[in-house]
Amino acid sequence: MMDPRLTIINKRLENINRIIAVSGGKGGIGKSQTAAGLALFLASQNYRVGLLDLDFCGPSSHVILGIEGAFPEEDMGIMPPLVNGIRFMSITFFSGGQPSPLRGGEISNAIIEILAITRWESLDFLIVDMPPGTGDPTLDVIRLMERVEFLLITTPSRVAWEVMKKELSVLRELRIPVIGVLENMKIKKASQTKEALAGLKVPFLGSIDFDEDLEEALGDTDKLLHTNFIKQLGQTLSDSKII
């Protein structure tokens, strides 16, 4: 038995310049918010951007970007719809927003299927919104997407650092490129995140404040583009020469 899909995946990704998986181990630290924000920011700078939501248990990118009614086109594969300048692909297209209680092996199979049939064509960036944890999706992205780089998110909380550090150590061991660590949802002026990461030899990219007005902008890309969140995100990433 041979899985023909595994052979084709990197061919499907060959015309993408950079593939960035937004991850961090823990849930609720702003991975989806950062992935969607990054895609939106890059599109506003006229980059050709794709956004792939691989959080099958808690897909959120479409809620953040307010994507409704779009559906991929079938054409020698499936073409992600272009929504607000972003080529978007998510399991929600197929589960129709209903629950999809999948076990790990099935999530893995579904990810492989989507990677094998999606035609991204030429992109400057493909942003991957990762689920929490280092389970099947993370192991598959590492195993299957040859040129992936990881952008790790954390919050100023010890609980978040601890989980992030474990993911970082797995990535290190496997020699997967890590762009750096971004601190999100900073509330107090003084944060110990930078110090906590000091020994880890990973670039600290900067901090994004907790943005009280972000919630109201969810679902509306125009409003999102004017939030402090996206301004700080864009600034931090430009400062660190990532884009």
Binding site: M1, M2, D3, P4, R5, L6, T7, I8, K11, E74, D75, M76, G77, I78, I91, F93, F94, S95, G96, Q98, P99, S100, P101, L102, R103, E106, I107, N109, A110, E113, I114, A116, I117, R119
Partner: protein, 137 residues
Amino acid sequence: MHEWALAESIIVTVIKESEKEKLSKVLKVTVKIGELQSIELDIFKFALENMVELYKSPVDLENIHLEIDRCILKCKVCSNSWNYSDIPKKLEEDEKEAIHFVPEVAHTYMRCTQCGSPDFEILQGRGVWIDSIEGEK
């Protein structure tokens, strides 16, 4: 029509494998097509034919054997197993289409026929697989 993408993956894999195994000739390729994915056989064959040409495949369409694999599901809760073709409530067209793209969303639209759980395994007949590649060195 994403059958084209699947057909392409078959041909690319056959080429890669025959190179890896240093086959001078590929005699027969057996492809299993899982019932669950509702592949359109005519389109799939047509796509295979085109891909054979595009990639100058070492095997031509006549020597690619397509076998339909019955879909069997098994519940993790009550151990009941059943055939996809026997489910009492037929699926809607759009549900079938979703499963056509990503067979795993079966868990969204189907339930164990005995206990109603979405926690079942797809034992066989999920999607497109290469069962074997026969050739000469």
